[in-house]
Symmetry: C2
Subunit: 339 residues, 2 copies
């Protein structure tokens, strides 16, 4: 700004080397601060680089060193095309993952998946741009993931763990979570339950299965499942339709996510149906917003921060060549006002 001689832009190490009167190799070593090169020249070169704002080309460095420092975060959109990525749960998990990964010096590349393609994950992990990959949610792509997991080690998946599975998953016991929610409703005296959620992916399917198991303890109780999307616009109208169909016939609703629960409560409120007095509602996830709403949400807590830590930890181990096993976390019922 204050001196007219703006330093010429340097485009590569060779050029800097010429300016400094040394070889490219020396510059490379100097910039890496290796003790192999003389302290004085090292500092001189570093100063020169700083002065000209030179930074070595990462692409070349990565090609040569064969490691990228980049972790891929992949969100499969098997069903529900749009807006999935805006889902607060994924976003929150993603945020924590970003925190953890940047902390350990990794960059982070986001990929959404083009549905209808069979080799999406292969393409991502074989691209040679990634040191490892994190898959957020299995959607309906469990087999595709399983296939890749057989040959690609540094891969960790958020989702349900099935017996005999090769892929390393981190997630809560969704069935247990479903049981907790339904049990709570039954204990409050509800007998005619509904389940709102899309069971095409294994995770939500497990939650429904858990809720059904809980019924066994309460003779005469019933449960009916209503497919409900996560994409926010359709969700509201779908839920409205469900509520109309249900009428007075339900006194407890197990929702597959906090967002569904939130919308359900709002729609019940519009219809003048008191929550939890006439109908009790449970959520799933325990997002931050669930304690900020009115009424506060009774929900099944997944510890997202802990989950993110576990995923990154497992990935780190796998990057180091160890063999990290799957982790199944136990969900926890958080009692608040809605049920």
């Amino acid at each position: 700004m204050n001196d007219g001689t703006k330093p010429a832009r340097i485009k590569n190490i060779a050029e800097l080397a010429r300016m400094a009167g040394v070889s490219a190799g020396t510059v490379s070593r100097a910039l890496a601060d290796k003790s192999l090169v003389n302290k004085e020249t090292r500092e001189r070169i570093q100063a020169l680089a700083r002065e000209h704002g030179f930074r070595p080309n990462q692409m070349a460095r990565r090609l040569r060193t064969q490691q990228t420092g980049v972790i891929g975060v992949v969100i499969p959109l098997g069903h529900e095309r749009r807006q999935h990525i805006s889902d607060p749960f994924f976003m929150t998990l993603f945020g924590y993952l970003a925190d953890e990964l940047t902390e350990s010096g990794h960059d982070l590349m986001l990929s959404r998946v083009i549905p209808g393609d069979d080799e999406w994950l292969d393409r991502i992990v074989d691209s040679g741009m990634l040191d490892g990959a994190l898959v957020i949610g299995q959607s309906n792509q469990t087999e595709a993931i399983e296939r890749v997991a057989q040959y690609y080690k540094p891969l960790v998946v958020w989702g349900s763990h099935r017996e005999g599975q090769v892929q390393c998953t981190v997630g809560v016991d969704n069935a247990a979570g479903g049981r907790l929610a339904a049990k709570r409703l039954l204990e409050r005296g509800a007998r005619r339950l509904a389940f709102f959620g899309d069971t095409k992916g294994p995770e939500i399917a497990d939650r429904l299965a858990g809720a059904e198991q809980a019924l066994a303890t309460a003779p005469g109780a019933t449960l009916r499942a209503f497919p409900t999307h996560l994409a926010s616009d359709e969700m509201a109208s779908q839920i409205a339709a469900h509520l109309d169909e249900i009428g007075e016939a339900v006194d407890g609703i197990v929702c597959a996510s906090d967002i569904i629960a939130m919308t359900t409560i709002r729609l019940l409120h519009e219809r003048g149906i008191a929550v939890p007095d006439r109908v009790a509602v449970t959520g799933f996830d325990d997002l931050p917003l669930s304690q900020r709403m009115v009424p506060q949400l009774t929900t099944v807590r997944q510890d997202i921060a802990a989950g993110a830590r576990a995923m990154v930890d497992a990935l780190r181990r796998r990057l180091a060549g160890e063999d990290a096993p799957s982790i199944v976390m136990q969900p926890e019922l958080v009692l608040r006002e809605s049920a």
Copy 2:
């Protein structure tokens, strides 16, 4: 699976070339599906590649072609270190950006910024890994961004536009938004206003300034600003402290974000203070959740999807060498229940 001869893993184009009995160059062209190579050999090579699951190394391709197909999305954490990234507004914007960018065939790399460093943005844009960069929020880093914008063209920033600024920004007119919110409260009859928000970044500062301007139209009205963080944990206790300090002395609150508004309403509810009857509250952003809460939030709408589109559009123009100007969108007051 059904045949024991698992195809050997191919690691580069040269190897595939040897197998196919052609040169590396031909393989490269065949994989790129160039008509320059004979249709038969082309298909033979493609089939061979598919069979062995070979995919060319992106790092090498990018080094050679000098373009990465990757757009950096940068979130500066000038103040408020932790959890900023989990802020729903940023996350929502980020989600839309991801949608837009993947749609146009770009990958997307996320970087959070190490505060206290002066050259964070230089490091990112000079790394040679990015075709362009999107900065989400200026925080208190406006000067650093401005400096980089002077030499790095493919850069678009979400935030406030100032006169004479080089950086290309996309954002709403925050002052106008602040005016809208305050005006609404005043029209409802409120006279003693409060503003909840952290004015260290230019965006929130503009909102406060706008609210103050609106006071001029209402003689005798007052406004007091209370610094309020966005990071969710401290926010609640800060707001609680503000409410205690305020007591009965306030009848309208302009909140700098929907999240702040949501928490404020919840805390007012706990204290038995009716919203909007005793105290009216406005939000800012119009996040999806603001229409899902009880009471629904009266808020200043930023069209996040349109903003994301505008950012990507400006970036695309800049990548093509054109000179896209800043965009200031007009905010819109959404009347619902809270004010």
